[in-house]
């Protein structure tokens, strides 16, 4: 009796997944409630092939590539900044820091993770763009910096994923058995040798898994990007330009609280579905890595 009750609790997670899948598909691939679904009106070919995204204009286009491009740009910048810093910080905390420092810094970084992302967004818009990017890129290098730009958003998303990378990588590093470190030292290694040749390689899978999770988080990050990256769906790799990410588009649509039934409303689901699939892929990849990582020591 109790067991079946508890089993029902566990089933909620399955129900959630099914719910997500059904909801995402419901307006994009088939229609639950009559009327046409998104992909019945817009061919997947156009959706994934066309390079123009303008669902809210008289002249509507539904090519998701600009949104995808914006998302990848922001996530890429975030990865380039957040991953190395997070990993190095993890190495410091796990290998070098005195326990006291670790006990202080880790919760501090956890708070960094707890700050609402809205705050980061404004940090990017009000601080990074005008006081860091403009003086450097525009003032010193002469590049044009948009008020909303991918770089500032990418940087704060990078900052946001530092705690996650740091904490997960640190777990992976600390999971490397002490005996391996001792074996390293016993063979006459310096601390650097032990770190770089023994501990980090042994924790590679865990670190990579944390990277994948962090990137997946960066892809799904919303508010900071909404605030700082702009709302112009264009295909560009110039990080100083304003772009639009998938998440930003979704919020933009829902800030206007677009009424159900319109094609823009349905495009919300199509974009959501794409986003879900991408992050799912990242998560599965990371799971797979984690799994390998568990096998190493046992």
């Amino acid at each position: 009796m109790i067991e079946s009750l508890l089993f029902l609790c566990a089933l909620v997670s399955i129900a959630t997944t099914l719910g997500i899948v059904v909801v995402m598909l419901s307006e994009s691939v088939f229609s639950l409630t009559g009327g046409k679904a998104f992909f019945q009106e817009i061919s997947p070919w156009e959706f994934f092939g066309s390079t123009k995204w303008s669902p809210q204009f008289a002249d509507k286009h539904f090519g998701v590539l600009p949104l995808l491009c914006g998302t990848i740009l922001v996530a890429g910048i975030a990865a380039v900044t957040g991953l190395p810093i997070g990993m190095l910080a993890a190495i410091y905390l796990s290998e070098y820091a005195a326990p006291k420092v670790r006990r202080m810094v880790k919760p501090f970084l956890e708070i960094l993770a707890g700050i609402p992302t809205v705050v980061y967004g404004y940090f990017a818009l009000e601080f990074i763009t005008p006081y860091v990017l403009r003086p450097f890129f525009q003032g010193m290098l002469g590049f044009d910096v948009d008020g909303f730009n991918a770089l500032s958003a990418g940087l704060v998303v990078g900052i946001m994923i530092i705690p996650m990378v740091c904490s997960l990588s640190e777990d992976a590093l600390r999971a490397v058995p002490r005996s391996l470190r001792e074996a390293g030292y016993a063979l006459g290694s310096t601390k650097y040798d032990v770190c770089v040749r023994v501990v980090v390689p042994a924790a590679t899978s865990g670190i990579i898994a944390s990277f994948l999770l962090a990137i997946s988080r960066a892809i799904g990050e919303t508010m900071a990007v909404v605030i700082a990256a702009g709302q112009s769906p264009v295909i560009t790799l110039n990080p100083l330009k304003s772009i639009q990410t998938m998440t930003a588009f979704m919020v933009n649509i829902s800030l206007g609280d677009t009424p159900a039934g319109s094609i823009e409303y349905k495009s919300l689901y199509a974009v959501g579905l794409t986003l879900f699939c991408i992050t799912l892929l990242m998560n599965v990849l990371s799971q797979w890595w984690m799994h390998r990582f568990r096998e190493v020591y046992q």
Binding site: D59, D146, V234, G256
Partner: protein, 318 residues
Amino acid sequence: EPQGKSTSESGSTTGGSGTAAAPVKGFVPEGAIAPSPETIKSGTYKPLSRPLFLYVNKAVLKKPEAIAFLEYYFSPEGRALVGESGYVELDDADYDAQVKLLDDAIKAAGGKASETLNGQVLVDGSSTVAPITTAVAEEFSKLHANVRVPVGTSGTGGGFKKFCSGEIDICDASRGIKDSEKELCQKAGIEYLEMKVGIDGLTIVVNPKADWIAGITVEELKKIWNPESKVQKWSDINPAYPNAAIKLFGPDTDSGTFEYFTEEICGKKGASRSDYQQSGDDNFLVTGVAGDEHALGYFGFAYYIENQGKLKALSVAP
């Protein structure tokens, strides 16, 4: 520099103080009129001044809380809030007509005011009108603590879609109802009352640092905003302007502002280029223009008034 509350106690900007900004530098075409409460009210600010509306579902005129809310909206206090919100109040004749319209409709519906009020009045629609409605709602709630007036800002189009499906009681609108929307309402059996609340001047704004320009012609606006527009740089408008990319900001397509602007400037509703920063949230547009030396955007007058320090309004020559 953070400002303590006490020092800015009187801080809210009122519409009346208008455009008394310092003399602006930059090119002004002949016959250009600067937007100000006077020019908007008198209609000399052409072609971009327009009336703002409230659409009321007649069915809700039976609910005492809705009646109370509307009566407050069209009371002298409510009228003053229009000006306070940065728009232009109706002239007296117009205002009296609206009050009468409301009274008649309430009588016809047979609703009556009641002592104890509670419940909700759902309002949604134009983001242009929203500042007035939230101001009214805020003041109203002080008088009737048990009545809720949550104000959504879905844009005029979005508001009408909800209005015509009965999801909301009152729709803020920055343009008149369209035929297609009328049809929807009819189908759903919704009868409505159209009320004018004030006048807005669509304002064309640039960054204050844009010292090369202070006015613009309708012709130039059309050149910039039409769907086939080739304008990418300021110099494409006028060779005298800088050879720098022009950053465009404008409302999204669910907004009445967009429809009004495209109709007046490009000649057809919804006819607009689409490669600009669009948002239903006017504050986003303000931030965008304020943050970019080469930006140009348009939105309701009230948002300009609130941000005179950060923006420069262009005079418009018909």
